[in-house]
Protein backbone atom coordinates (compact mmCIF):
# COMPACT_ATOMS: atom_id res chain seq x y z
CA UNK A 1 0.00 0.00 0.00
CA UNK A 2 1.46 3.31 -1.03
CA UNK A 3 0.76 6.69 0.53
CA UNK A 4 0.13 8.25 -2.84
CA UNK A 5 -2.94 10.42 -3.23
CA UNK A 6 -5.65 9.08 -5.51
CA UNK A 7 -8.99 10.15 -6.87
CA UNK A 8 -12.56 8.91 -6.66
CA UNK A 9 -15.77 10.31 -8.09
CA UNK A 10 -18.78 11.61 -6.17
CA UNK A 11 -21.83 12.07 -8.39
CA UNK A 12 -19.41 12.22 -11.32
CA UNK A 13 -17.17 14.91 -9.80
CA UNK A 14 -13.53 13.86 -9.49
CA UNK A 15 -12.41 14.22 -5.86
CA UNK A 16 -8.87 13.88 -4.48
CA UNK A 17 -8.30 11.63 -1.49
CA UNK A 18 -5.46 10.28 0.63
CA UNK A 19 -5.07 6.75 1.97
CA UNK A 20 -6.81 6.43 5.33
CA UNK A 21 -9.47 9.02 4.51
CA UNK A 22 -13.13 8.10 4.62
CA UNK A 23 -15.45 8.97 1.76
CA UNK A 24 -16.94 11.74 3.91
CA UNK A 25 -13.55 13.26 4.77
CA UNK A 26 -12.61 13.38 1.10
CA UNK A 27 -16.00 14.88 0.23
CA UNK A 28 -15.74 17.53 2.98
CA UNK A 29 -12.28 18.56 1.75
CA UNK A 30 -13.65 18.91 -1.76
CA UNK A 31 -16.64 20.97 -0.61
CA UNK A 32 -19.22 18.27 -1.25
CA UNK A 33 -21.67 17.91 1.61
CA UNK A 34 -22.87 14.47 2.61
CA UNK A 35 -25.66 14.76 5.21
CA UNK A 36 -24.78 13.35 8.64
CA UNK A 37 -26.03 13.42 12.22
CA UNK A 38 -23.92 11.07 14.39
CA UNK A 39 -20.64 12.25 12.85
CA UNK A 40 -19.07 15.37 14.31
CA UNK A 41 -15.80 17.13 13.60
CA UNK A 42 -13.10 16.13 16.09
CA UNK A 43 -14.86 12.97 17.25
CA UNK A 44 -14.15 9.43 16.12
CA UNK A 45 -16.51 8.12 13.47
CA UNK A 46 -19.34 5.84 14.54
CA UNK A 47 -21.47 5.02 11.48
CA UNK A 48 -24.59 4.84 13.62
CA UNK A 49 -27.29 7.10 12.21
CA UNK A 50 -26.83 6.03 8.55
CA UNK A 51 -28.03 9.45 7.35
CA UNK A 52 -24.71 9.65 5.44
CA UNK A 53 -25.55 6.50 3.48
CA UNK A 54 -24.12 6.70 -0.03
CA UNK A 55 -23.85 4.18 -2.84
CA UNK A 56 -20.20 3.19 -3.29
CA UNK A 57 -19.71 1.00 -6.34
CA UNK A 58 -23.44 0.30 -6.12
CA UNK A 59 -23.47 -0.78 -2.46
CA UNK A 60 -25.03 1.17 0.39
CA UNK A 61 -22.36 2.23 2.88
CA UNK A 62 -21.96 4.84 5.62
CA UNK A 63 -19.78 7.56 4.11
CA UNK A 64 -18.39 8.50 7.55
CA UNK A 65 -16.77 5.10 8.10
CA UNK A 66 -16.24 3.68 4.61
CA UNK A 67 -12.63 4.22 3.44
CA UNK A 68 -12.15 6.12 0.21
CA UNK A 69 -10.62 3.93 -2.48
CA UNK A 70 -8.95 4.70 -5.81
CA UNK A 71 -11.43 5.01 -8.65
CA UNK A 72 -14.45 4.43 -6.40
CA UNK A 73 -17.71 5.70 -7.94
CA UNK A 74 -19.85 7.24 -5.17
CA UNK A 75 -23.48 8.34 -5.51
CA UNK A 76 -24.55 11.02 -3.02
CA UNK A 77 -27.28 13.40 -4.20
CA UNK A 78 -29.65 11.00 -5.94
CA UNK A 79 -33.44 10.96 -5.53
CA UNK A 80 -33.22 7.44 -4.11
CA UNK A 81 -30.69 8.36 -1.41
CA UNK A 82 -32.48 11.63 -0.69
CA UNK A 83 -35.73 9.75 0.02
CA UNK A 84 -33.92 7.13 2.08
CA UNK A 85 -32.24 9.76 4.23
CA UNK A 86 -35.50 11.63 4.68
CA UNK A 87 -37.17 8.44 5.91
CA UNK A 88 -34.30 7.85 8.36
CA UNK A 89 -34.61 11.38 9.74
CA UNK A 90 -38.39 11.09 9.91
CA UNK A 91 -38.10 7.86 11.90
CA UNK A 92 -35.83 9.67 14.38
CA UNK A 93 -38.56 12.28 14.82
CA UNK A 94 -41.10 9.53 15.45
CA UNK A 95 -38.92 7.50 17.80
CA UNK A 96 -38.56 10.27 20.39
CA UNK A 97 -40.71 13.24 21.39
CA UNK A 98 -39.54 16.07 19.15
CA UNK A 99 -41.81 19.08 19.65
CA UNK A 100 -39.94 21.81 17.81
CA UNK A 101 -42.24 24.68 18.88
CA UNK A 102 -41.43 24.10 22.57
CA UNK A 103 -37.78 23.11 22.21
CA UNK A 104 -35.10 25.61 23.16
CA UNK A 105 -32.75 24.07 20.57
CA UNK A 106 -35.13 24.93 17.72
CA UNK A 107 -33.16 26.74 15.03
CA UNK A 108 -29.84 25.29 16.28
CA UNK A 109 -30.97 21.67 16.04
CA UNK A 110 -29.23 19.49 13.46
CA UNK A 111 -32.08 16.98 13.37
CA UNK A 112 -34.54 19.75 12.57
CA UNK A 113 -32.14 21.33 10.09
CA UNK A 114 -31.72 17.98 8.36
CA UNK A 115 -35.51 17.70 8.08
CA UNK A 116 -35.54 21.17 6.47
CA UNK A 117 -32.78 20.27 4.03
CA UNK A 118 -34.34 16.94 3.09
CA UNK A 119 -37.81 18.50 2.80
CA UNK A 120 -39.65 16.51 5.48
CA UNK A 121 -43.08 18.02 4.84
CA UNK A 122 -45.21 15.17 3.53
CA UNK A 123 -47.93 13.61 5.70
CA UNK A 124 -46.18 10.95 7.71
CA UNK A 125 -46.36 7.28 6.88
CA UNK A 126 -44.98 6.23 10.27
CA UNK A 127 -46.73 6.14 13.67
CA UNK A 128 -45.47 8.32 16.51
CA UNK A 129 -44.03 6.02 19.18
CA UNK A 130 -44.38 8.71 21.89
CA UNK A 131 -42.14 6.99 24.43
CA UNK A 132 -42.23 7.95 28.09
CA UNK A 133 -38.76 9.31 28.80
CA UNK A 134 -37.37 11.18 31.80
CA UNK A 135 -35.91 14.66 32.23
CA UNK A 136 -32.83 14.79 34.45
CA UNK A 137 -32.45 18.29 35.89
CA UNK A 138 -30.42 17.20 38.92
CA UNK A 139 -27.16 18.88 37.88
CA UNK A 140 -26.88 22.57 38.85
CA UNK A 141 -25.65 23.67 35.40
CA UNK A 142 -26.79 20.99 32.95
CA UNK A 143 -30.14 19.32 32.24
CA UNK A 144 -30.90 16.28 30.10
CA UNK A 145 -34.25 16.08 28.29
CA UNK A 146 -34.03 12.56 26.94
CA UNK A 147 -37.29 12.98 25.01
CA UNK A 148 -35.09 14.64 22.38
CA UNK A 149 -32.16 12.20 22.39
CA UNK A 150 -31.51 10.51 19.04
CA UNK A 151 -28.81 8.18 20.46
CA UNK A 152 -26.18 9.56 18.10
CA UNK A 153 -23.53 8.96 20.76
CA UNK A 154 -21.66 12.22 20.12
CA UNK A 155 -21.69 13.05 23.85
CA UNK A 156 -20.41 9.53 24.63
CA UNK A 157 -17.43 9.87 22.30
CA UNK A 158 -16.71 13.45 23.39
CA UNK A 159 -16.77 12.50 27.07
CA UNK A 160 -14.63 9.39 26.60
CA UNK A 161 -12.12 10.57 24.03
CA UNK A 162 -11.83 14.33 24.60
CA UNK A 163 -12.75 14.84 28.26
CA UNK A 164 -11.41 11.45 29.41
CA UNK A 165 -14.40 11.06 31.72
CA UNK A 166 -16.94 8.60 30.34
CA UNK A 167 -19.93 10.49 31.77
CA UNK A 168 -22.24 9.11 29.07
CA UNK A 169 -22.66 5.59 27.67
CA UNK A 170 -25.09 3.34 25.86
CA UNK A 171 -27.29 0.91 27.79
CA UNK A 172 -29.89 -1.57 26.50
CA UNK A 173 -30.23 -3.22 23.11
CA UNK A 174 -32.27 -2.75 19.96
CA UNK A 175 -35.16 -0.28 20.24
CA UNK A 176 -34.43 -0.05 23.99
CA UNK A 177 -30.88 1.17 23.44
CA UNK A 178 -30.42 4.62 24.91
CA UNK A 179 -27.79 7.00 26.22
CA UNK A 180 -27.41 6.87 30.00
CA UNK A 181 -25.18 8.63 32.52
CA UNK A 182 -22.53 6.97 34.65
CA UNK A 183 -24.29 7.48 37.98
CA UNK A 184 -27.70 7.66 39.66
CA UNK A 185 -28.32 10.91 37.79
CA UNK A 186 -26.24 13.64 36.13
CA UNK A 187 -25.53 15.32 39.50
CA UNK A 188 -23.84 12.09 40.63
CA UNK A 189 -21.34 12.10 37.74
CA UNK A 190 -18.30 14.32 37.31
CA UNK A 191 -19.94 16.19 34.41
CA UNK A 192 -19.02 19.87 34.31
CA UNK A 193 -20.03 22.81 32.19
CA UNK A 194 -16.47 22.97 30.83
CA UNK A 195 -16.74 19.44 29.34
CA UNK A 196 -16.54 19.19 25.58
CA UNK A 197 -19.39 16.64 25.79
CA UNK A 198 -21.83 19.29 27.01
CA UNK A 199 -20.60 22.12 24.76
CA UNK A 200 -23.25 23.63 22.54
CA UNK A 201 -22.05 21.89 19.36
CA UNK A 202 -21.77 18.29 20.48
CA UNK A 203 -25.42 17.45 21.18
CA UNK A 204 -27.11 17.85 17.77
CA UNK A 205 -30.58 18.17 19.33
CA UNK A 206 -31.94 19.77 22.50
CA UNK A 207 -31.20 16.87 24.86
CA UNK A 208 -28.12 18.27 26.64
CA UNK A 209 -29.23 21.64 27.93
CA UNK A 210 -26.86 24.21 29.39
CA UNK A 211 -29.00 25.88 32.00
CA UNK A 212 -29.60 29.65 31.89
CA UNK A 213 -28.48 29.92 28.25
CA UNK A 214 -31.57 28.74 26.39
CA UNK A 215 -32.97 31.82 24.71
CA UNK A 216 -29.94 34.13 24.62
CA UNK A 217 -30.22 33.99 20.84
CA UNK A 218 -33.86 34.47 19.86
CA UNK A 219 -35.76 32.18 17.48
CA UNK A 220 -35.30 33.58 13.99
CA UNK A 221 -31.63 34.50 14.50
CA UNK A 222 -30.24 31.01 14.99
CA UNK A 223 -27.82 28.87 12.98
CA UNK A 224 -30.32 27.20 10.67
CA UNK A 225 -32.93 29.95 10.49
CA UNK A 226 -31.33 31.47 7.41
CA UNK A 227 -29.07 28.84 5.89
CA UNK A 228 -29.32 25.11 5.29
CA UNK A 229 -27.24 22.62 7.22
CA UNK A 230 -24.15 21.74 5.17
CA UNK A 231 -23.99 25.00 3.25
CA UNK A 232 -20.74 25.97 5.00
CA UNK A 233 -19.10 22.80 3.66
CA UNK A 234 -20.51 23.33 0.16
CA UNK A 235 -19.19 26.92 0.16
CA UNK A 236 -15.61 25.60 0.03
CA UNK A 237 -16.30 24.46 -3.49
CA UNK A 238 -16.81 27.95 -4.86
Amino acid sequence: MTDAAFTLTIDGTVVAAKPGQTIMEAADAAGIYIPRLCDHQGLRHQGGCRVCTVKAAGRSVAACTQPAAPGLAVENETPHLHALRRDLVEMLFHEGNHLCPICEASGNCELQAMAYRLGMIEPSKFPYLEPTRPVDASHPDIALDTNRCISCGRCIRASEDVDGKGVFGYVGRGIHRRVAVDGADLAHTDAALSDHAVSADVCPVGCIIRKREGFRVPIGERDFDHHLIGETIAEKRR
Binding site: L99, C100, Y116, I121, Y128, R133
Partner: protein, 189 residues
Protein backbone atom coordinates in the same frame (compact mmCIF):
# COMPACT_ATOMS: atom_id res chain seq x y z
CA UNK B 1 -67.55 34.96 -21.35
CA UNK B 2 -68.04 35.40 -17.66
CA UNK B 3 -65.03 35.83 -15.40
CA UNK B 4 -63.69 32.57 -13.92
CA UNK B 5 -65.35 31.86 -10.60
CA UNK B 6 -63.43 32.57 -7.45
CA UNK B 7 -61.81 29.66 -5.65
CA UNK B 8 -63.77 28.74 -2.54
CA UNK B 9 -61.68 28.38 0.62
CA UNK B 10 -62.81 27.09 4.02
CA UNK B 11 -60.75 27.28 7.20
CA UNK B 12 -61.07 25.94 10.72
CA UNK B 13 -59.09 25.83 13.95
CA UNK B 14 -59.26 22.46 15.73
CA UNK B 15 -56.86 21.83 18.64
CA UNK B 16 -54.88 24.95 17.82
CA UNK B 17 -54.35 28.41 19.27
CA UNK B 18 -55.60 30.47 16.30
CA UNK B 19 -52.01 31.56 15.76
CA UNK B 20 -52.07 30.03 12.28
CA UNK B 21 -55.21 32.01 11.45
CA UNK B 22 -53.41 35.11 12.67
CA UNK B 23 -50.51 34.13 10.40
CA UNK B 24 -52.92 34.32 7.45
CA UNK B 25 -52.98 38.04 8.14
CA UNK B 26 -49.18 38.11 7.77
CA UNK B 27 -49.85 37.69 4.05
CA UNK B 28 -50.35 41.42 4.50
CA UNK B 29 -51.07 43.68 1.51
CA UNK B 30 -50.94 40.70 -0.85
CA UNK B 31 -54.24 39.64 0.75
CA UNK B 32 -55.96 42.31 -1.31
CA UNK B 33 -54.75 40.73 -4.55
CA UNK B 34 -55.42 37.21 -3.25
CA UNK B 35 -59.02 38.02 -2.34
CA UNK B 36 -59.71 38.89 -5.99
CA UNK B 37 -59.28 35.17 -6.69
CA UNK B 38 -60.62 33.67 -3.46
CA UNK B 39 -63.84 33.71 -1.50
CA UNK B 40 -64.38 32.23 1.94
CA UNK B 41 -66.97 29.64 2.77
CA UNK B 42 -67.08 28.04 6.23
CA UNK B 43 -64.47 29.85 8.34
CA UNK B 44 -64.09 31.61 11.69
CA UNK B 45 -63.05 34.66 9.63
CA UNK B 46 -66.65 35.17 8.47
CA UNK B 47 -68.28 33.17 11.30
CA UNK B 48 -69.92 30.70 8.89
CA UNK B 49 -70.42 27.55 10.98
CA UNK B 50 -71.41 25.19 8.14
CA UNK B 51 -70.45 24.59 4.54
CA UNK B 52 -72.76 26.35 2.09
CA UNK B 53 -71.15 24.74 -0.96
CA UNK B 54 -68.39 22.36 -1.95
CA UNK B 55 -64.99 24.09 -1.59
CA UNK B 56 -61.75 23.95 -3.53
CA UNK B 57 -59.36 24.35 -0.61
CA UNK B 58 -59.79 23.52 3.06
CA UNK B 59 -57.22 24.89 5.52
CA UNK B 60 -56.95 23.09 8.85
CA UNK B 61 -55.24 24.57 11.87
CA UNK B 62 -54.62 22.28 14.88
CA UNK B 63 -54.76 18.54 15.40
CA UNK B 64 -57.55 16.40 16.85
CA UNK B 65 -57.89 16.31 20.63
CA UNK B 66 -61.62 15.52 20.91
CA UNK B 67 -64.44 13.84 19.00
CA UNK B 68 -65.78 17.14 17.68
CA UNK B 69 -62.40 17.84 16.05
CA UNK B 70 -62.65 14.48 14.29
CA UNK B 71 -66.19 15.15 13.02
CA UNK B 72 -65.27 18.63 11.79
CA UNK B 73 -62.14 17.32 10.07
CA UNK B 74 -64.12 14.57 8.34
CA UNK B 75 -66.68 17.19 7.29
CA UNK B 76 -63.85 19.24 5.74
CA UNK B 77 -62.52 16.19 3.91
CA UNK B 78 -65.98 15.53 2.43
CA UNK B 79 -66.47 19.14 1.38
CA UNK B 80 -63.03 20.17 0.10
CA UNK B 81 -61.07 19.05 -2.95
CA UNK B 82 -57.68 19.90 -1.47
CA UNK B 83 -57.02 19.73 2.24
CA UNK B 84 -54.09 21.65 3.75
CA UNK B 85 -52.74 21.03 7.26
CA UNK B 86 -51.49 24.45 8.37
CA UNK B 87 -48.84 24.56 11.11
CA UNK B 88 -47.20 22.09 13.45
CA UNK B 89 -50.31 21.24 15.51
CA UNK B 90 -52.19 20.10 12.40
CA UNK B 91 -49.09 18.29 11.11
CA UNK B 92 -47.78 16.57 14.26
CA UNK B 93 -50.30 17.33 17.02
CA UNK B 94 -47.99 20.10 18.19
CA UNK B 95 -48.16 21.60 21.66
CA UNK B 96 -51.42 19.86 22.66
CA UNK B 97 -49.65 16.54 21.90
CA UNK B 98 -47.44 17.23 24.92
CA UNK B 99 -50.13 15.48 26.89
CA UNK B 100 -49.49 12.26 24.95
CA UNK B 101 -46.07 11.53 26.36
CA UNK B 102 -44.40 14.44 28.07
CA UNK B 103 -46.52 13.87 31.18
CA UNK B 104 -44.25 10.86 31.95
CA UNK B 105 -47.23 8.88 33.07
CA UNK B 106 -48.85 5.56 32.27
CA UNK B 107 -52.19 7.40 32.19
CA UNK B 108 -51.23 10.80 30.76
CA UNK B 109 -54.75 12.08 29.99
CA UNK B 110 -55.98 11.51 33.55
CA UNK B 111 -52.84 13.05 35.00
CA UNK B 112 -53.18 16.05 32.68
CA UNK B 113 -56.81 16.65 33.73
CA UNK B 114 -56.05 16.17 37.43
CA UNK B 115 -53.18 18.64 37.20
CA UNK B 116 -55.36 21.15 35.36
CA UNK B 117 -58.51 20.89 37.49
CA UNK B 118 -57.63 19.37 40.86
CA UNK B 119 -53.99 19.13 41.94
CA UNK B 120 -52.31 22.31 40.74
CA UNK B 121 -51.74 24.73 43.64
CA UNK B 122 -53.24 27.54 41.55
CA UNK B 123 -56.60 25.80 40.95
CA UNK B 124 -59.71 26.95 42.78
CA UNK B 125 -62.14 24.04 42.38
CA UNK B 126 -63.89 23.24 45.69
CA UNK B 127 -65.82 20.27 44.24
CA UNK B 128 -62.62 18.59 42.93
CA UNK B 129 -64.67 17.45 39.93
CA UNK B 130 -63.07 17.30 36.51
CA UNK B 131 -65.52 18.97 34.03
CA UNK B 132 -67.82 16.22 32.73
CA UNK B 133 -70.87 18.02 31.30
CA UNK B 134 -72.39 15.89 28.50
CA UNK B 135 -72.28 18.97 26.26
CA UNK B 136 -68.48 18.94 26.36
CA UNK B 137 -66.90 17.04 23.44
CA UNK B 138 -65.38 13.75 24.55
CA UNK B 139 -61.59 13.98 24.77
CA UNK B 140 -59.63 11.49 22.70
CA UNK B 141 -57.12 9.19 24.38
CA UNK B 142 -54.40 11.32 22.83
CA UNK B 143 -53.92 14.18 20.39
CA UNK B 144 -53.69 13.05 16.76
CA UNK B 145 -52.18 14.79 13.74
CA UNK B 146 -54.72 15.50 10.99
CA UNK B 147 -53.05 13.00 8.67
CA UNK B 148 -53.85 10.23 11.18
CA UNK B 149 -57.60 10.93 10.75
CA UNK B 150 -58.15 11.88 7.08
CA UNK B 151 -56.05 12.10 3.94
CA UNK B 152 -54.14 15.39 3.94
CA UNK B 153 -52.95 16.70 0.57
CA UNK B 154 -50.42 19.34 1.63
CA UNK B 155 -48.76 20.41 4.87
CA UNK B 156 -47.47 23.94 5.49
CA UNK B 157 -44.92 23.76 8.32
CA UNK B 158 -44.32 26.40 10.98
CA UNK B 159 -45.43 27.53 14.41
CA UNK B 160 -46.93 29.67 13.12
CA UNK B 161 -46.10 29.40 9.39
CA UNK B 162 -44.81 32.61 7.87
CA UNK B 163 -47.14 34.74 5.78
CA UNK B 164 -44.74 34.18 2.88
CA UNK B 165 -44.94 30.39 2.88
CA UNK B 166 -48.74 30.45 3.20
CA UNK B 167 -49.03 32.97 0.37
CA UNK B 168 -46.64 31.10 -1.94
CA UNK B 169 -48.48 27.82 -1.34
CA UNK B 170 -51.91 29.33 -1.99
CA UNK B 171 -50.73 31.09 -5.15
CA UNK B 172 -49.29 27.83 -6.50
CA UNK B 173 -52.43 25.86 -5.62
CA UNK B 174 -54.67 28.49 -7.23
CA UNK B 175 -52.52 28.21 -10.36
CA UNK B 176 -53.28 24.49 -10.34
CA UNK B 177 -49.87 23.12 -9.42
CA UNK B 178 -47.76 22.82 -6.30
CA UNK B 179 -44.02 22.24 -6.69
CA UNK B 180 -43.13 21.94 -3.01
CA UNK B 181 -41.23 24.34 -0.80
CA UNK B 182 -37.81 25.90 -1.12
CA UNK B 183 -35.96 24.18 1.80
CA UNK B 184 -34.83 27.63 3.00
CA UNK B 185 -38.47 28.51 3.75
CA UNK B 186 -39.22 25.39 5.83
CA UNK B 187 -39.38 26.01 9.58
CA UNK B 188 -40.91 23.97 12.38
CA UNK B 189 -40.91 26.88 14.84
Amino acid sequence: MSAPRKARVATVSLAGCFGCHMALLDIDLRLVELLKHVEFDRSPLNDLKHFTRHCDIGIIEGGCCNEENVHVLQDFRRNCDVLIALGQCAITGGLPAMRNAIMHSDDPLRECLEEAYVLSPYVTNPTHVIPNDPALPLLLDKVYPCSAVVKIDHQIPGCAPSGDIIYETLVQLLAGRFDGFDPHTIHFD
